[in-house]
């Protein structure tokens, strides 16, 4: 029941030229469906690893047994406050979720679409006018995703590079850098909230500082918890998804041509690519001792529900390691299951689809530039960099 497995240190999880971290973790299905990994967090703690989609659903639905309250961001600063709603359990969770759902529900996201598309077009036209190759993450994926996120927050684009830098340090920097980035982000959110309390506009932060839950305004800590979560969640998740998708299409010219010829297929294809290249893991903490599918989980144990493992579950997906852009009935868990289903999933999906649509319609047959190798990595959020595409 104990396995030497880690999303941080197993083979293929470190920075790897031409790596395939998703295929590397799919081997978890050769192990028992639940096992204990003594070293599966960034700070070297052990977790139970739940490999099957159906078991992950059970864990993520059972909020009475498996808590989300971890203060993962705050604890890096030696503090203890939850990112909201992610690290709250019901019933408190539902109150904040109801407050924020209307800002990101599917029909509301449709209103943002013209701005998303325009941003994609401006960036891609700039790239294609300048050259016949580019570093996709630096030149397109990050600026695109972060710019939409700033637009959502109601902030100007001019600080874009600063935000990207903070995000990089936070998610992939070493200890000191990470703590410094976390402090910077908290200070930024606190300052922004203070400014909006004094000078309300019609942006996201104004909404948060003026909102009421249970008939009372939000505390400073609650405002911070929401602001930090939106910042962290919106920074590199979408960019990374676009990166993995374009890397796949660069290596699979037939699929690239299919989507260029029949762009109506991009929506369904994006779902399959979300399944195959998920990037996050959910962690829960057991609130009590429980026998779970034969595993003796004890109060305080960490339970890892890694999306990239469940999405390669052969019991859930036929030929899980085959990417089939026409796959239907695709009930993947890229945005999690249960009450904590990614609040930004509707926005993320539209960003990915619009990004792919505009890229494919504006950039001719592209491939990975000769003598270059994209670098992939596992960890807290899977990633890809140095993705140099060429269409000369």
């Amino acid at each position: 029941m104990v396995r030497d497995f880690s999303l941080f240190t197993s083979p293929g999880m470190g920075p790897t030229p031409d790596g395939d971290p998703h295929a590397a973790v799919a081997c978890a299905h050769d192990a028992p469906s639940i096992f204990y990994s003594p070293n599966n967090t960034r700070d070297g703690r052990g977790t139970w690893v739940i490999t099957r989609a159906k078991d992950q659903r059970r864990v993520l639905h059972d909020t009475a047994t498996f808590s989300s309250h971890r203060s993962i961001f705050a604890s890096a600063l030696g503090e203890n406050w939850p990112m909201i709603p992610l690290e709250l359990d019901p019933p408190a969770h539902g109150v904040f979720r109801s407050l924020l759902n209307p800002l990101l529900e599917p029909k509301r996201v449709m209103v943002l679409e013209p701005a998303i598309r325009e941003r994609a077009i401006v960036l891609i036209d700039g790239i294609s006018a300048a050259s016949t190759n580019c570093d996709v993450m630096k030149d397109f994926a990050f600026p695109f995703a972060v710019s939409i996120f700033l637009h959502f927050l109601g902030l100007p684009d001019e600080r874009l590079d600063t935000f990207v830098g903070w995000g990089k340090d936070l998610l992939h920097g070493e200890g000191v850098k990470r703590t410094a980035a976390a402090r910077t982000i908290v200070a930024f959110i606190d300052d922004l909230a203070a400014v909006r309390r004094k000078e309300p506009t019609d942006d996201f932060m104004t909404f948060v500082v003026e909102a009421k839950v249970d008939g009372r305004p939000l505390t400073d800590e609650e405002v911070r918890g929401i602001g930090v979560l939106v910042f962290v969640a919106g920074l590199d998740t979408v960019a990374t998804a676009i990166g993995f998708d374009l890397a796949y299409l660069a290596r699979n010219p037939k699929d690239q041509q299919l989507l260029r010829r029949e762009p109506d297929r991009i929506g369904l294809a994006a779902e399959e690519l979300l399944r195959a290249y998920s990037t996050v893991q959910m962690i829960r903490v057991a609130k009590k001792d429980i026998e779970f599918e034969g595993a003796p989980i004890r109060k305080g144990d960490y339970i890892s529900c890694a999306t990239m493992i469940a999405n390669r579950d052969p019991a859930e997906f036929e030929n899980p390691n085959t990417i089939d852009l026409a796959r239907e009935d695709n009930r993947h868990t890229a945005f999690a299951y249960g009450p904590h289903r990614c609040l930004g999933s509707h926005l993320a999906r539209r960003e990915i689809v619009i990004g792919l649509e505009e890229w494919l319609s504006r950039i001719p047959d592209f491939r990975i530039k000769e003598d270059t190798a994209p670098i992939t990595y596992g960890g807290h959020v899977f990633g890809i960099e140095n993705l140099i595409l060429d269409w000369s």
């Binding site: 659903r57 009935d329 299951y337 289903r341």
Partner: protein, 83 residues
């Protein structure tokens, strides 16, 4: 065809709505409205796709209802319920 909506299981993925926005109605937070759905024949394909793409298994396709309805219509067409 009828779709049984287990709206307590809905978590707002909106995959059903993405496939068939005319069949699946969402509230202001993006979660499905309570109540089972009678699906017109022309919408069956998209509605089935929508129901089958729910990650939470909140939408159940009720085929037994189809059979019941067929029997009823057949009987009605043949002059009532002479058992």
């Amino acid at each position: 065809m009828r779709i049984i909506v287990h709206n307590d299981k809905c978590q707002g993925h909106a995959r059903c709505w993405a496939h068939a926005p005319d069949v699946f109605k969402l509230d202001d937070e993006g979660y499905i409205l309570a109540g089972d759905i009678e699906v017109a024949e022309r919408d069956e394909l998209l509605a089935t796709r929508g129901a089958r793409s729910c990650p939470e298994r909140a939408l159940e396709i009720d085929r037994a209802f189809d059979a019941l309805l067929d029997r009823f219509l057949f009987n009605q067409a043949c002059g009532g319920f002479n058992t």
